[in-house]
Assembly symmetry: none
Homo-oligomer: 262 residues x 2
């Protein structure tokens, strides 16, 4: 269960560095996105407006991330003490630069936090990172996107990176979690198929000439559903109810026959 | 390589459905997030304010997605004609419901678009999806997140789903279907549920006091199965056969009454 899920402490070693962000609303949205994904270190290089009421409003319940944000005056300060610096790039540069996509970046980041801190650097809303800033980056990271419209909002971009970082902590899949059920055993399923086979004959549905093929189809349907025990009980209850109608009918027929003196 | 990457046309078959969105800025941000990831179908169920200048401003260069957005008055309209409906849920529900994470959802969506349209449904900013709305969903999808702060902004949530859909197009599906089938449409499934509901009453199985909860359970079972058209036909054929037993019984009872002179 997610309630039992504990965040990988490595996430706390990942810094989100924003360079000269223009819109305080973006800073607030980013704080929220970070906290949602278990990140906490926000570093602002010369933000245009900070602190800001607009940022706080957009941060929603991530005020702690905003309050703890460090404001610095250079990228060097922001990345000081890190072991890995990755710059987010909206477009793929013509220059040859070691490039990663977001998923690869997150993997590398989570490997690196074993050794020390990691910085993910995001440039200005309008012009991104300068070449001098890219020179400080070990890699450029790119978000796969529509080639005709690849410029993500900076908050959306941080959200995707933060999400992949959390995913990279290899949390267990939530698939079927929260879905409390005990799968039916093979024997229970066979019991259901036998019951189904009998009931379909009782209600005069099944054409005996096509039995095998038909039952194969039913197995394909219910096997892939991964029925739980309770569901098998319910389905068999329905079959029994249908069979009861048949026996009632037969009782009526018998009554009728008695009346007719047969 | 990313340079060679062309958008998978399957993305155009994925609808983003937003229910009663309060803030037009979110609608705009979502249009942008969609276009960034190659999605184009936006369906708005009773938006509070739309069209809206705020939405247009936030959409940036995704005005085309906003302009093409369909405004409808019910979730039923929004999901009409789809083969798969997945509801986004901020938290894991206590109720047992088939659940996927975002990555699994995207994979399933990209497999399903081979057969038809897919709807990803997002609830209200404050209160999410109602139980009645979840009943229409085949799965609930959950974004893995910080258990102490799992409520993503709706725009951020759509961004993550859209990103995973695009990522899923890059990965060839290993899911090989052993047989060719056309998935049943939402309308065909609703027809089956109506028939099931009636038949279960006819065969005196259904306790009317527990109808809603029981039918929710049946939906959960059959929705996750992704029934194909032929299977729906077969299941309805079985229901009809069971109902026929009931009417035969009634005929017999009537016959009997005639014989008895009543």
């Amino acid at each position: 269960m997610i309630e039992d899920y504990r965040l990988n402490p490595g996430l706390l070693k990942i810094r989100i560095v924003l360079i000269e962000t223009s819109h305080p609303g973006n800073i607030g949205g980013i704080a929220r996105a970070m906290k949602n994904m278990g990140l906490s270190q926000l570093v602002l290089v010369n933000p245009k407006e900070f602190p800001s009421a607009v940022a706080s409003a957009r941060a929603s319940s991530a005020a702690d991330v905003l309050n703890d944000a460090r404001v610095v005056s250079s990228l060097d300060e922001a990345i000081a003490g890190t072991k890995l610096v990755v710059g987010a790039s909206a477009r793929l540069r013509k220059v040859s630069w070691p490039q990663l996509d977001v998923r690869e970046t997150a993997k590398l980041a989570l490997e690196t936090v074993e050794d020390g801190e990691v910085a993910l650097v995001f440039g200005r809303e309008d012009s991104g990172l300068s070449n001098a800033e890219m020179d400080k980056c070990h890699y450029l990271a790119h978000i796969p996107s529509n080639p005709n419209y690849c410029s993500l909002n900076i908050g959306a971009a941080v959200q995707v990176f933060a999400y992949e970082c959390l995913m990279a902590t290899e949390i267990e899949s939530v698939h079927t979690k929260g879905y409390k059920h005990t799968l039916a055993s093979t024997e229970q399923l066979e019991g259901f198929y036998d019951h189904l086979y009998q009931a379909l004959q009782d209600i005069e549905f099944l054409d005996p000439a096509k039995n095998a093929r038909f039952m194969r189809r039913m197995r394909r349907l219910f096997n892939r559903t991964q029925l739980d025990i309770k569901e098998v009980d319910i389905l068999r209850g329905i079959l029994t109810a249908a069979q009861r109608q048949v026996s009632k009918k037969q009782i009526n027929e018998n009554d009728q026959n008695i009346i007719l003196g047969e």
